[in-house]
Assembly symmetry: C2
Homo-oligomer: 754 residues x 2
């Protein structure tokens, strides 16, 4: 079996060295292209049964009957049906050679090149594609076909295919499909429930043997689809360029004129001209400011970091505060485009530090979700805002599906209860606000959005606490970050953050009371915080927090440490995650001492300054052996902690594994989309871990601890409105203030004015 | 290019001699399997991008948002994902040999057999499948794989895939998917608008190297799908049997017990046992009584007639009078499962003559549709019942889509106006009642359903007539049978049938008035016929009917003969139909002297006794050259007429072309479903044409005219409740009365008592 391999080429190119239909989905995900507005999986133009064609436009959520809201797969404009001498063109292991598929992270271009043998001819193919970083609505592809033995008849059927679904759920209703000027192909559909119009426009330019061809395509209108058929007699070369634009009725940038006319104007620049514009824009929007130089003995570290930055650009709808980042970005159907705690705890830090405007937009999304969160709290009998475990449109409230997969024993659908009891998300959002505010000093955000979030989340916790016989307040029946432990009491992470959330609300209250009493009145009208703040003050200190035992171990929850142990070797060594669920159902897993992911470790990441290194070490040593790292959020949390406590080798190993979550040789790890949060995790490993960035007491601390493999780190960042640049090399830290007034930073324990 | 060929084998086997992905859809349609309740296209178990997977259950119509009602594609239970040594099994032209796919019309079994080469092994495959004619809910498949070079690891993923759509429109909502007893796979979905529950149940039996295997499959539950994964190490032979059952909430036969438990009971018989039962049932339900022996110099005539009978069995939901026959039967998405005039004019005669119970059920469907037809009449400002051009559920009324395809010039969707103005369907239904009644003598049907249909349709026509300046009554702005003529006045076929329909209503009225006055009162309460009958009597004779001119030509409509002629050679010779629409839009075609199909000829078919042979000849000669036969209804109408008027050679040629509409070597003629009515047309060519059956003045006339090629015809039929058998051979007609009292038939002009 000649399986294909992922190839790592230089700083910016990730590739695949041969064709294997069984592995299509992997590169479709990791090589997806987009700009935060739209994202197109890197699916092949030609059809394969295992191919997954997805085009997602951020924020176009729709609800299929009684299912939960999800991001719908919009019409496919990049597939092509190519017929050579009347036979459908597609690749098999046997008819292709010199295959290479690669994504250039720097320019955003996807290229497939290969030689294809038909029964009596041979062809050189080059298929290029980009989604514009310049004009977010635009994309284009350019196919070059060179017959090598003799001339060939090549028919290309190209247009818009609206027969796509989300695994069988169709989200769109036809409004209109047609040709304009016998040449431009357009489709107008709308989502079935949310009534969002989506407009797709397609134009072509074609060249045969060096001459541009102006023949009109033969129109083909099928159900939910509209195509043009092009018929070419190709002597030396066919160039087939396809230009595509997407618009929706919720776009904030309103466009003047007919979409196809705009496309026609753009097409005058040709593929190369438009691509150049896009690559320049990608440089300005991403690489110019956000590039992180990492000199490592393993050259792949630089590539994988660039890879993470690329995807964080592609997946982030920074242009619109009604939208957030999905757990799979915009790269696949997984998790239905929903936003989780992944944003605040794993991805937000990267934006706070490198792109505060985007960070603010992501947090404004949570503010817009307050009503839905209030509604969820009310439905569950609580006060304040109970942010949903999964969110889609800000005002949708909770959208976690009720079932997923199958219970191996009963044969029934397996229940999903995270939407009911994984409540730490509420404090995670508050923590995101806190971190953003501390790092950026954005008081405007706090006044308009932040305080209200903090008060409402604190109110939720205050109402959620339960009186215990010990005179303390407990939080029972939750899922903490470690999702293999369902229905636990006093999950350390949850309790700690709940307490902190209440305490921070008190701080905020006092702050406004003194600085801006009129604002307090305004916010009180919306939140009723004044009525409840005294209660919060009285109660927050009574929240039960597990204290380290004689071995310095903190209880993850009230029962974990007493659970029976089993031999986990098989699952720890499995190349795919969650293999344990093939042997046990969730009820059984919850009764075993086994973790899906970091739990207490995440607490050490957020509030590291509150715990001694000894405690961190003891808990790392205790918990890691039971952790299967079955969540992509796990490795980076452990990696940073390992680096912090001086486990440099293991830390670097965990970091390396984290960078490889999606781009390893395991060909099915990300079939249904990339692991968005893991990219934030990789970034954190570098900036929090190696560079040692941490906010403590409202001041940035930088305490670099480079593992042996890494010899240099250099990158720019924003802090309290200033643009700074840091270089860490040879045990030295260089900090430059690029713009703005001097600012205080504690580097290696010493206060510096930069 | 090694294109595959359709192979005709003996009386009962239609096959395909090699594998070609480009031609998959052809055999999927023509080899579809079913029993009138359910029909499964003969799609390959393994996936191909061009494969069209359809399973239709009669009458489960659903409406996708604002589209017209259509028959939804239900979950796929016959696909299998087969992996050999980890590589997905599928065929290419290169890796397969000795390929044969064939359908045995007599037993209903589909068989694919071939040799498959993997990179380092070779396999013999045999894949068999049937849908039971015994238990209409049941089907099964049996896959045999023999590794030829060495043993092999074979993984089969098998279950229920609900990710199917109708070209992108999803009609089903998930209710429940699960395993029972870790072995039975079930799915329960419901249609999104009509709320019809569909239950699919799957079980397996597997044998490796001669031993039955009882390992439990590994459950895999994805979106809208549920599968079991089987893993086999195969030395000499793998046998994989899959058992499937389908039920719906509109089934008339209510089943006692859990569906999967019933399936388990059935599975005990094994594939072979169940298949035997099915083949026996198919014999009893179809071949025993309905087989028509046709001895011809072209052996294919017998096969193609058997083929037509097979499909008329598969497509006809004779079990339920809420259902009718779709224009593509149940074999494809084409025409959305809708019923047209095809039923009454082309298919019904076969059932009237050979299966009167089914014929009655098909007409009861129209009776159930009266309210919808009344509603349509009212909406259009008319009285009585205006039967819809396309119908789905009886009470849906008109369901013709408003658009189809693209206008080649404007680029806009092409309007479909048949639903508005192709009104001859109203009289076609009445004619069906008339023919059924005359042939069967079923007065019970007339009293309960028939009279009401006749009165309501006559009332429609009476209200539809327009006063002309000539003192006559006209019917303007219609489409006649020839759909290349839109917006015509006084279409001969329409006017003639309208007049006849009114006249027949008068006859019926007089009949009941004298025989059963109480019934008249009852029917009058529902129809108000008594108030309007005098008006009908006064007006029907004034309906304008074109009289033959000096050349004996009858005007197809008021304008056709004055239209400009163009050279039609190119279109007449095209292997695919409707090629003219690539050069002209409908507005332009309507202004040319060109016909899609027979128009006046159909009138000669229904009311042949009213026109002299000279007139028939003259009109045949005049109209046929302008006819592109772009409707599958056209050839048989012309063929019968040609035979009638003594154009035996041309008649036989047209007959032969009619038999080949779907089973010719043209590989795309029936991609989206078979041409249901053409099978009725073929049957009519034989029984109406060659055997010369015709009802004239309420008496059966038999006037055989065998073309030279055909030397013997023998078949059974029902007439006025008697079972008869006819043999035509060597210029002699043998008529036998198998059961019942003697009956009068006019054979070759002489009255016989049989």
């Amino acid at each position: 079996m000649g399986c294909c391999m992922i190839v790592y080429d230089g700083e910016f190119i990730i590739g695949e060295d041969s064709f294997d239909e069984m592995s299509l989905n992997k590169t479709e995900s990791i090589m997806c292209q987009g700009n935060g507005y739209i994202c197109v999986r890197a699916y092949a133009e030609e059809k394969y049964p295992l191919r997954v064609v997805n085009t997602f436009i951020a924020g176009t959520f729709n609800k299929y009957f009684d299912e939960v809201t999800e991001l719908p797969n919009v019409a496919d404009a990049f597939s092509l049906d190519i017929f050579i001498e009347g036979v459908r063109f597609f690749l098999t292991r046997e008819n292709v050679s010199d295959y290479n598929k690669s994504l250039n992270l720097k320019t955003g271009e996807l290229v497939r090149s290969f030689k294809f043998r038909s029964c009596d001819n041979e062809f050189e193919f080059e298929m290029r594609r980009f989604i514009s970083a310049d004009n977010i609505h635009l994309g284009a592809s350019k196919i070059k076909v060179i017959p090598l033995i003799k001339s060939a008849n090549i028919v290309v059927v190209s247009g818009i295919d609206g027969k796509v679904t989300n695994s069988g759920d169709a989200h769109f209703i036809d409004v209109m499909r047609r040709f304009y000027e016998r040449e431009f192909i357009v489709s107008h559909t709308k989502t079935s429930q949310s009534n969002i119009d989506v407009f797709v426009n397609v134009g072509h330019r074609t060249f045969v043997d060096g001459e541009e061809i102006f023949d009109l395509p033969k129109p083909k209108m099928g159900r939910k689809s509209v195509f043009g058929e092009f018929n070419f007699e190709v002597g030396s070369e066919l160039i087939f360029e396809k230009y595509v634009s997407y618009y929706t009725s919720i776009d904030k940038d309103v466009v003047d004129g007919q979409y196809y006319e705009i496309l026609r104007e753009n097409m005058k620049l040709g593929y190369e001209g438009l691509f150049l514009r896009s690559a320049e824009a990608l440089f300005l929007k991403l690489w110019k400011n956000d590039y992180i130089e990492i000199k490592s003995k393993n050259y792949i570290d630089q590539l994988s970091l660039n890879y993470a930055l690329y995807h964080m650009f592609v997946m982030t709808p920074a242009h619109d505060n009604r939208m957030n980042i999905g757990a799979k970005g915009l790269s696949g159907e997984g998790y239905k485009g929903h936003t989780f705690w992944d944003t605040e705890v794993f991805l937000l830090p990267r934006f706070i530090v490198q792109n505060p405007l985007a960070a603010r937009s992501l947090l404004e999304y949570r503010y817009l979700g307050l009503d839905g969160a209030r509604e969820k709290a009310k439905l569950n009998g609580y006060c304040g805002a109970m942010f949903p475990w999964e969110s889609a449109n800000p005002d949708d409230g909770e959208v976690t599906p009720k079932f997923s997969g199958v219970d191996v024993f009963s044969g029934e659908p397996a229940k999903v209860i995270t939407g009911d009891i994984e409540i730490h998300i509420v404090a995670d959002v508050a923590f995101g606000v806190y971190l953003y505010r501390n790092f950026t000093g954005d008081d405007d955000f706090m006044c308009r959005f932040g305080y209200e979030i903090i008060f409402e989340t604190a109110k939720f916790w205050n109402s959620r606490l339960e009186d215990g016989d010990d005179g303390l307040l407990h939080i029972c029946d939750v899922i903490g970050p470690d999702e293999y432990c369902e229905h636990v009491d006093d999950n350390m992470y949850t309790n700690y953050l709940a307490k902190w959330n209440m305490e921070y609300a008190i701080d905020c209250y006092n702050e406004i009371l003194h600085k801006n009493p009129n604002l307090l009145i305004e916010i009180d009208l919306k939140t009723g915080i004044c009525d409840v703040i005294n209660d919060i003050k009285l109660r927050y200190e009574k929240v039960y927090i597990s204290t380290p035992d004689e071995d310095l171990i903190i209880n993850q929850d009230s029962s974990y440490r007493n659970l029976p142990e089993i031999d986990l070797t098989k699952y720890k060594e499995a190349s795919l995650v969650a293999t344990i669920s093939q042997d046990y159902n969730m009820e059984q897993i919850s009764k075993l001492k086994v973790s899906k992911q970091a739990d207490v470790m995440v607490l050490f990441l957020l509030f590291g300054e509150k715990f001694s290194d000894d405690i961190k070490k003891a808990n790392f040593d205790y918990y890691e052996p039971f952790c299967l790292h079955d969540s992509s959020l796990s490795l980076s949390s452990y990696a940073i902690l390992a680096n912090d406590i001086g486990y440099f080798d293991y830390g670097y190993e965990l970091f390396s594994r984290a960078t490889m979550i999606d781009i390893s040789q395991e060909m099915h790890s990300c079939d249904d989309g990339v692991h968005a949060a893991s990219y934030g995790g990789v970034w954190q490993c570098v900036v929090y871990g190696f560079a040692g960035f941490r906010m403590i007491g409202g001041v940035l601390h930088i305490n670099p601890k480079l593992p042996e493999e890494i010899t240099k780190l250099k990158f720019g960042f924003y802090y309290l409105g200033r643009r700074l640049e840091i270089k860490i090399e040879n045990g030295k830290v260089d900090l430059k203030n690029i713009s703005g007034e001097a600012v205080s930073i504690i580097v290696g324990g010493k206060l510096l004015e930069v």
